[in-house]
């Protein structure tokens, strides 16, 4: 291993950032793929891998990808919720790999909501 220079500290931190973002729970955006039995049957797994590939491709360290159970709207699966920091979550439905890519490029990275695929803004709260 080489001796570190001071600027190397930032490089290492950068490389490790994604991991840390996942652990620290911060991050710019959070994508939740709903993966109940219904979701998986409808192809949620593919959607999830697509998002994961996109994250890697864009080196998007501050995007958290997570899964959840069935969102209740089984007919519109596969579904995903995108939540930008400080904004209300947006639910997308009837996803395909292309749609997922588009959502990632537009909503996650640029902050522009993709109206066409969106179901609703906001989410239910459990008391």
């Amino acid at each position: 291993m080489p001796r570190l220079k001071i600027e190397d500290l930032d490089k290492i931190a950068d490389q490790q950032r994604r991991k840390m973002t996942v652990r620290e729970g911060g991050g710019k955006a959070k994508i939740t793929v709903h993966m109940g039995t219904c979701g998986i049957a409808a192809g949620a797994r593919n959607i999830m891998s697509t998002f994961l590939k996109e994250i890697e491709a864009h080196n998007a360290h501050d995007v958290i990808l997570t899964t959840s159970a069935c969102a209740g709207l089984c007919s519109r699966e596969p579904m995903a919720t995108v939540e930008l920091a400080g904004q209300a979550p947006v639910k997308y439905v009837d996803l395909t790999e292309e749609k997922a890519k588009k959502i990632f490029a537009s909503h996650v990275l640029q902050g522009k909501l993709v109206q066409d695929y969106a179901l609703s803004i906001g989410s239910e709260r459990i008391q």
Partner: protein, 610 residues
Amino acid sequence: MKQYRLQVMVCAGTGCVSNHSFELKEALDREIKKHNLQNETEVVYTGCNGFCGAGPIVVVQPDGIFYQLLKVTDIPHLVEEHLLKGRPVKKNLYTPPAEKTPIPKMADIPFFSDQTLIALRNRGMIDPEKIDDYIARGGYKALAKVLTSMKPDEVMSEIKASGLRGRGGGGFPTGVKWETCKKAHGDTKYVICNADEGDPGAFMDRSIIEGDPHAVIEGMIIGAYAIENVHQGYIYVRMEYPLAIKRFQIAIQQAREYGLLGKNIFAKGFDFDLDVRRGAGAFVCGESTALMASIEGRPGEPRAKYIHTVEKGLWDCPTCLNNVETWVNVPQIILKGAKWFSSVGTGDVSIDPWGGSKGTKVFSLAGKVNNTGLVEVPMGISLGDIVYKIGGGIREGKKFKAVQTGGPSGGFIPESMLDIPVDYEELTKIGSMMGSGGMVVCDEENCMVDMAKYFLKFTQEESCGKCIPCREGTKRMLDILERITIGEGTEEDLLLLEELSNMIVESSLCALGGSAPNPVLTTLKYFREEYEAHVKNKKCPAKICRQLLTYTIDQKICLEIGHGCGVCKKNCPDAAIIGERKTVHYIDPVKCGKCGACYDVCNFNAIIIE
């Protein structure tokens, strides 16, 4: 670089390891592969999470789902449900006592949410065996800052201004200590990290080392830089902490490979290296002079400190010794500034370094509380908050009696003083001390005489035996306590105990002896009536001191429910139980050896203890 969707953080602190967390990881890896999740899930070891009572602990990120008390058999279900399907497994979540719904997220559990993390900021976040993880969390940035933009004096004044005080127990202002060491004559100086944590029930140092060893190393490098003429440091770890020693050795190796230890650190012309020294586990070796003697290879015995170790310490060279927790605070103070640090805590340290307690303190919470484990709280928080909020109150809804702080050198604090803030001076004032941070909670079922005897027995056994007051005095104190607990104590004994305690405090060679009577003195002060009950009435109100109890048989239950079954008679080793089968049994109080066997075997709860 590979990106994972999920991070499964397996706690690898000693507590969880002894509860099979290594096996958990193996099972996790196996199951993840089975479900073909290995490309999106990473299983990581972390340092201690502090909530050791709930171990083994696994936290699933990014959501921070906190699993407790896991078994290997729980893993297949957990992987399938949570990792694959995204549904947290309820039965393994934490449920607060007296509630029914579990709290899935770690951050929502009061044990964690009420803590303020400075020393433990990386806990559960990094793999302690990976230096890159530490750097990713801002590690070694403070060192870079110090070496590029700060003069040693500036570092010193920053530490002084922060009001950081020794976390090992004494609470000596760290900045003042560093400055004295810097001013001491000598071309060779040393820094030492005291990781010889010996208080029974205290494990914060171990936890920090196991979870974040690089933070200690970084703190020590900064300290060495500030004090100047320091090129060698030692970390004194007790042999009972093999994992801590291993983590330190790995961390030192990694830091050396990165050039963060050794010659010419960051090409700034500063040399410093570290070595681990293992202690053989004598409690007294936590005392600075004894510790240094031990490093030098001599018997670990303290010496008079009229000439301080900062002037003549290791090999008679000026030596700056600080506790693990103290060192860990240093990088954070440098990074975030003295003001940020001193904004937490009590008092004002801008004029008098002893004027207040700043920052946070890690306590290991043990005893009769619901949540036992490691907690980091801001200075100034009340003892009550620690016991009730973080600790979750007393187990089984029993009544609080006292909290013992500061380990065997500390004292017992009664309920009336629960609103006392955690502050060096405040605790000392009431006869206890901050100590290294042990905190044992006693409930109504604890006999205070017995508790005092327990702690005194520990110090008496751990006394090095060098000076007469500690060697002879503590043994005589223990003799008296022994007499009291078996009902042979007299009222004169109490006075004698008090006198002897005070004399030991005044005349012992080192702080171990000087503080050994504290548990006795505080219980005598706050719980004197319990002592008097033992001495005058020959009764133990908490029903702990066996020799003071009387065993009788409830005749009604014995005859009517048990029909004089005679099990007790068969099991009595002293043949003290009289009575034929199917008749009432009696206990002969003269013969009764008070062993309690009858109580244990009686199926009808007919034995009454008073």
